[in-house]
């Protein structure tokens, strides 16, 4: 993780200009090096661009609790209960909540669900687990005041019936 952070930090705005390296061994080497450094420059810019992407907005004040029925979920439709509250445990109500379920293996189509609020801060709905294994759910709640709550919730070991 430390390495990940270091690489990410390097991507956040560090860029260097191309450097010309002369060579006497090969008359074309200078030109070739210029090409390489240009390519490296493009590469660095690409990296920097990725590093400078907008940071994910992730309000830290909200608590998100997600429960499934059955628990752990089984392949097929699972009932979802979601509770939104602030740091003091007070319900955060009126939000529009959407779930996006993904398997941790690439190449699988995600599963979406829109939840309905049954009482302040409590949302219910159904999410389809299409395959057994480890899933993660991205919870997105757009609140009436315009803020957005986003959380990633791991759902390990969805069982195959």
């Amino acid at each position: 993780m430390l390495l990940v952070r270091l690489v990410s930090a390097a991507g956040d705005g560090v860029s260097t200009g191309p450097t010309r390296i002369a060579s006497t061994a090969n008359p074309n080497a200078g030109f070739e090096m210029q090409r390489i450094t240009k390519s490296a420059g493009v590469l660095l810019c690409t990296f920097a661009l990725w590093g400078c992407r907008p940071a994910d907005s992730e309000p830290s004040q909200a608590n998100v609790r997600l429960d499934f029925d059955p628990s752990p979920p089984v392949v097929g439709d699972a009932g979802v209960r979601l509770t939104l509250s602030d740091a003091a445990g007070k319900p955060l109500y009126g939000g529009k909540v959407v779930l996006e379920g993904n398997m941790n293996h690439a190449g699988m189509k995600p599963s979406f669900a829109e939840l309905r609020e049954v009482e302040p801060g409590r949302h219910v709905g159904t999410l389809k687990f299409t395959m057994g294994g480890d899933w993660f759910i991205i919870v997105t709640a757009n609140m009436p005041d315009g803020s957005r709550i986003e959380r990633k919730v791991e759902v390990q070991g969805v069982r195959v019936p």
Partner: protein, 499 residues
């Protein structure tokens, strides 16, 4: 008629089969000297994008280009390309471009060590990659997938910067070995068109290369103080004595080097080369090489093990082993499963089949000689299992590249240049892919049985059926195992014991 004689007779006469290099557009492109680089550059660009996204993109595998392209598209397309044509990945391999660049300034001085001129380094790396794939759940880890790609570039460049010829491809690269074995099932091979032309050839440019002082063509590097106009085969495959696709990267250097335009990419019967015995250029006799037997064993049993790791029984097995041994860490348990799947199980099955063969043939040959002889017959089935497994991921998820690319652009630039991600795009439904999987397995089984029959017939003409029987049983057991696995619901877990 003796199969060797048949093969010699077949190769001695001019090839009249379909030749891709004689086609108007494709043939002209492939025969263009820079066609390989033209194919490598797009793959290099894609690799750079994948590396960038692995390190700086979202660390969620289904939304990351590195994880998606590596574990779904790349693996699927490699085996499908082999099935449709040949070893096209090695042909367009991006890992070799940095090496080509490096060789403009650095001439490798060393020969690859003699004691490592075999498949053992690649076998060790092949098993290592399979093991870390399961242990660290690489399919779910974009960052480590990116690190693996970077490591591959570094290894290819490092090895070939130090050692002459294509040492990395021939002795180190596990993907290359996978492709070499797989491409024995390909419908095309790089082969001499007319052996009569080779008989009168004195230059042997296809293996030696063309030396010259022309600065236009000296960019390939230097060898023995002389600049190389055109490389010959760097994998030591002398065209007139080359058999099939083993160790052939489809680089087409022999095509460019041949002054008689006598090398083509010709159609042939897939798997037929597995029935050919005797010395092959650059390989010697593969039926006498235990390293080849080990490679084929890892290729075949590894295919089943890799697919087995996708279904829920493997987790039950891991939990059972953890309970019995009291272990709470995964690597020794996974190591035990690998040891069983790649060593104990093959040894028991192949030794039993060899013992049966020896008894049926009333032969005094050692079990190892018999196993070495029949190991080739495992390749078609092994390839069928890889094809079914990788084909499943590719066919069910090939369109997911569209929303992931759209999302990557949107996140990188902050603008949805390609539109909003179409997350509803997936691939073919499993109900369509399942019969394809079974078809691939069935074709593999038929191929293995056919190869085993030819081997049995030429080695034991008087007792062919009796000798053939145990190997059909081996293929049947492996086929049944693979079919059972493919019939289980997929269950991808990156967690073990709740960790």
């Amino acid at each position: 008629m003796n199969p060797v004689a048949v093969h010699v007779a077949r190769t001695a006469s001019p090839k009249t089969s379909f030749d891709l290099l004689r086609l108007p557009l494709i043939g002209r492109f492939l025969k263009w000297r820079y066609s390989r680089i033209a194919m490598q550059i797009p793959l290099l660009v894609i690799s750079v994008v994948m590396i960038a996204h692995a390190f700086f993109g979202p660390q969620l595998a289904p939304k990351n280009l590195a994880a998606l392209l590596t574990w779904v598209h790349f693996r699927g397309l490699v085996v499908i390309a082999v099935l449709m044509a040949g070893n096209l990945f090695c042909m367009a391999c991006p890992f070799l471009l940095p090496r080509e660049l490096a060789r403009r300034w650095f001439s490798p001085r060393w020969e690859w060590p003699r004691w490592l001129r075999n498949k053992w380094p690649a076998i060790v790396l092949f098993v290592f990659v399979l093991f870390v794939y399961e242990l660290f759940d690489l399919w779910a880890d974009p960052w480590w997938t990116g690190a693996l790609i970077v490591g591959y570039f570094a290894a290819a460049t490092g090895v070939d910067a130090l050692f002459r010829k294509a040492s990395f491809c021939k002795y180190v690269c596990p993907i290359g070995q996978f492709n070499f074995l797989s491409s024995t099932m390909a419908p095309f091979e790089i082969a001499v068109r007319d052996h009569g032309v080779c008989t009168s050839c004195r230059t042997r440019d296809c293996i030696r290369g063309v030396r010259g002082s022309d600065p236009e063509v000296s960019a390939m590097g230097r060898l023995g103080g002389q600049s190389i106009g055109q490389r010959g085969c760097e994998l030591a495959l002398f065209q007139p004595r080359k058999v099939g696709n083993l160790d052939c990267t489809f680089c087409l250097d022999c095509v460019y080097a041949c002054p008689h335009d006598n090398v083509g990419m010709v159609a042939r019967l897939p798997a037929e080369e597995l029935t050919v015995r005797g010395n092959r250029s650059g390989l010697r006799s593969i039926e006498r090489r235990f390293d080849f037997t080990a490679l084929i064993t890892v290729f075949t049993f590894g295919a089943i093990l890799n697919a087995f790791a996708m279904i829920s029984p493997v987790y039950s097995l891991e939990h059972w082993l953890a309970r019995v041994t009291g272990l709470r860490v995964e690597w020794p348990i996974l190591g035990a499963i690998f040891a069983f799947g790649l060593v104990i199980e093959p040894v028991v099955i192949l030794a039993a089949a060899a013992a049966w063969t020896r008894r049926a043939a009333q032969s005094r040959e050692s079990a190892l000689v018999i196993v070495n002889r029949f190991a080739r017959s495992l390749v078609p089935l092994g390839f069928g299992v890889w094809l079914a497994h990788y084909g499943f991921h590719f066919f069910t998820g090939f369109l997911t590249i569209v929303p992931v690319a759209q999302n990557a652009i949107r996140e990188a630039l902050g603008v949805a240049l390609l539109g909003s991600p179409l997350w509803q795009l997936g691939g073919l439904p499993e109900s369509i892919v399942y019969p394809m999987e079974m078809g691939f397995l069935g074709l593999g089984l038929i191929g293995s049985i056919g190869v085993a029959w030819v081997i049995a017939r030429e080695a034991y003409p008087a007792r062919t059926r009796a000798v053939f029987a145990p190997w059909v049983l081996v293929h049947g057991i492996l086929f049944a195992s693979a079919a059972w696995i493919m019939n289980q619901p997929m269950d991808m877990r990156g967690t073990f014991l709740g960790g």
